[in-house]
């Protein structure tokens, strides 16, 4: 099972803390976004991606590691992984 956590505006706008999915084998971050898009009417690619790339400031974490420092949207997500998603955010 892959656990997907929604925070910030994702959590508030979708009124959901996330999803749990079962896949046959490992998937890529792109494939996960496609699955989420299917369940949420294209919301996630609209919010997380820009021209097929991760939009500036959007955060996709696999087990706490930003996919940008893994293999980008081709990063592998395996059974048991936790994926965390944030729209562009800042503070301080």
């Amino acid at each position: 099972m892959i656990k997907v956590k929604f925070y910030s505006l994702f959590k508030i706008n979708l009124k959901s803390s996330g999803e749990e999915y079962e896949f046959d084998g490992a998937i890529t971050a792109t494939e996960l976004i496609s699955k989420l898009d299917a369940d949420y009417d294209g919301y996630f690619s609209h919010k997380l991606l820009e021209a097929g790339e991760i939009s500036p400031g959007s955060i996709i974490l696999i087990n706490g590691h930003n996919v940008i420092h893994l293999n980008g949207l081709n990063s592998i997500i395996k059974d048991g992984d936790i994926v965390t998603l944030f729209p562009p955010s800042a503070g301080g």
Partner: protein, 602 residues
């Protein structure tokens, strides 16, 4: 009416109760812009850096920024510059709200307070009239009552008040100065300096907007930049919706969320205290903005007991929350309100309690010392409220804690429990997880601080681009640019949060448009570099030398015990020499004569 690049200075001699007017224009404005920059220049020129910060020889400078009071987006900020009692370094603390713009409108761009009044006073600025008035009746009162009483006394409900609370009067080393009740020049103990001078408040009401700038040229740029701020994902959507507390879950998920006095880096109860929880639990009432702000990240909140106020911001919520192991959002907000009313920095207050909790749990504080107060144990929501109040009033053990975590822990023989740099408490990002941010902490001119070079932005948030938080290569250069650009923004009177959407060229463009100047971006960044170097030179002369460019040993010796970055320690020492070299400083960290000459600081 003064031109925008000519500062009207009001010099207030509190000892002799004399007020005189001066002007600052020309070369110093060109070199330091205003706000933090020009204020530091005045401080450096006028005081002996070795003086006791709480003696009458110290000066307290209120400085508006170059664009404060203009149409610039977020251009409403003022800064308080002095020698700080917590760090013994230059202290400069920045605040929003509406006070700064009103001060600029009144034609009093910079206030210099000298000496010490022989009884409590406040400065009243109404139209052309500047006078010191007796403040005995508000001495001892909180920022809320003081603000309301002095507005009523001014006879004009539109008057703006900047004041200290009892913490400033009691010389708490991290006392703040508050304006509009809940806005704070929070850090570095500027409120204690104000208290040491028997100065309770500044009340200002302008007759007309006395700020003369190139409006037409500037409005074109303002329109463009406002659009950029509105369309940016962070400043247009993220910050308005969730405020700064959106960071709780981000920092916790990435494993840089300091927990229980930086013993861990993830907090198991983050869901109870996050920005999302503040909204879901119904505490959040509205978002609000400061003068000229299209972002509006401020939070109006209300507790179930009916008490209301502003906050908590991310750092505040963390300091009283995860850092103290507390999962009770109600207590966190309550402690925030107490800090605002009594006039105390929330970060240092919460982090000092966290330090005391670790000391208590490890046997360095006896139960008897708490008198009948709650036990200083991690997770105690009762403690964060109780000891916040005790510190502000300097009662019981709160008296020793009011000296800040470093002096408190040192007095018990365990300074290593203080998570501070140059004796100022670190904010809400673990430097073991963020190598660039750790270097920024170690080299900050005002001690432990996140707003002197916010490397969290590239290392966690991916703004303006995502950097690997554990990578060392290239980090010194990034830290230097962030530090220098931040100094420019602080001197301009705009809010640092605009930098999530704007860059160096944008600040250069709006400053040039507003004052009719022709700085190149390179020259503008050099202004920031000049400010940074002058602050550091002041610190040397105050006796705060490069050997204080360091993080607590915990971050080097104890790798992160949990979270995604488990096993990492800070490696800032490996990149500190490169930082010095790129700064053009000597190997020992002192500024070279060549660099001082290049910056016109001989």
């Amino acid at each position: 009416m003064g031109k925008i690049n000519e500062y009207n200075v009001l010099r207030v001699d509190l000892t002799n109760e004399e007020i005189t007017k001066e002007k600052i224009a020309g070369e110093n404005v060109k070199k330091f812009l205003g706000g933090r920059g020009l204020g530091t220049k005045i401080l450096y020129d006028e005081i002996d850096p070795t003086i006791d910060p709480l003696s009458p020889e110290n000066k307290l400078i209120y400085a508006t920024g170059l664009l404060t009071g203009t149409a610039a987006s977020t251009g409403g900020r003022y800064m308080v510059i002095t020698k700080g009692p917590l760090t013994n370094t230059v202290a400069s603390s920045n605040s929003g709200g509406f006070f700064g713009a009103e001060l600029r409108f009144s034609g009093n761009d910079i206030l210099i307070f000298e000496g010490k009044a022989d009884h409590p006073v406040y400065l009243s600025l109404k139209g052309d009239k500047a006078e010191l008035k007796d403040a005995s009746h508000v001495w001892g009162k909180g920022a809320y009552d003081t603000t309301e009483m002095l507005i009523e006394e001014s006879g004009d409900e539109k008057s703006r008040v900047s004041c200290i609370g009892p913490a400033g009067e009691n010389l708490v080393k991290f006392a703040s100065i508050m304006n509009e009740k809940d806005r704070a020049a929070g850090r570095t103990g500027v409120g204690a300096v104000m208290g040491s001078k028997n100065l309770k408040a500044v009340v200002v009401r302008a007759d007309e907007k006395q700020v003369d700038y190139y409006k037409d040229e500037m409005m074109k740029v303002v329109r463009k930049q406002t659009k950029m701020l509105k369309e940016d994902g962070v400043t247009g959507e993220g910050l308005p919706s969730l405020g700064t507390k959106v960071l709780d879950n981000i920092c916790n998920s990435t494993g840089v969320y300091p927990t229980r006095n930086f013993q861990e880096a993830t907090f198991e109860d983050v869901a109870e205290v996050s920005g999302e929880a503040l909204m879901e639990k119904g505490y959040l009432q509205n978002n609000k903005g400061c003068y000229g702000c299209p972002i509006r990240c401020g939070r109006d909140t209300k507790l179930p007991n009916g008490r209301s106020g502003e906050g908590p911001e991310y750092e505040t919520g963390w300091a009283f929350g995860a850092d103290c192991g507390v999962n009770d959002l109600n207590a966190i907000v309550e402690a925030n309100y107490i800090c605002n009313d009594l006039g105390m920095d929330t970060i240092s207050a919460g982090a000092t309690i966290a330090c005391a909790m670790e000391m208590y749990e490890k046997g360095h504080i006896d139960k008897e010392e708490l008198e009948n107060g709650p036990e200083l144990k991690f997770g105690s929501s009762e403690s964060v409220v109780y000891y916040t109040q005790k510190m502000a009033l300097r009662e019981g053990i709160g008296d020793a804690m009011a000296e800040g975590s470093y002096r408190f822990a040192e007095s018990k023989g365990v300074p290593e429990f203080s998570m501070s740099v140059k004796k100022q408490e670190l904010p809400a990002y673990d430097p073991r997880g963020l190598q660039g941010h750790g270097l920024s902490y170690a080299t900050s001119n005002r001690g432990g601080c996140h707003v002197r070079g916010y490397m969290v932005s590239p290392e966690v948030l991916g703004v303006p681009e995502k950097l690997d938080p554990q990578e060392l290569k290239g980090k010194p250069e990034w830290v230097i640019v962030f530090q220098d650009l931040t100094a420019v923004i602080d001197a301009s009177g705009m809010c640092l949060f605009t930098s999530f959407a704007l860059g160096l060229d944008d600040y250069t463009e709006i400053i040039n448009a507003g004052i009719g100047a022709d700085y190149s971006s390179e020259e503008m960044l050099q202004v920031g570099e000049r400010i940074w170097n002058l602050e550091r030179q002041f610190n040397y002369e105050a006796g705060v030398t490069p050997d204080t460019d360091k993080l607590p040993d915990r971050f080097l010796n104890d790798p992160l015990p949990d979270g995604p970055l488990k096993g990492n320690a800070s490696k800032y020492k490996e990149i500190l020499p490169e930082y010095y070299e790129l700064r053009g400083w000597k190997e020992d960290g002192f500024i070279s004569d060549e660099k001082l000459g290049e910056l016109g600081l001989e």
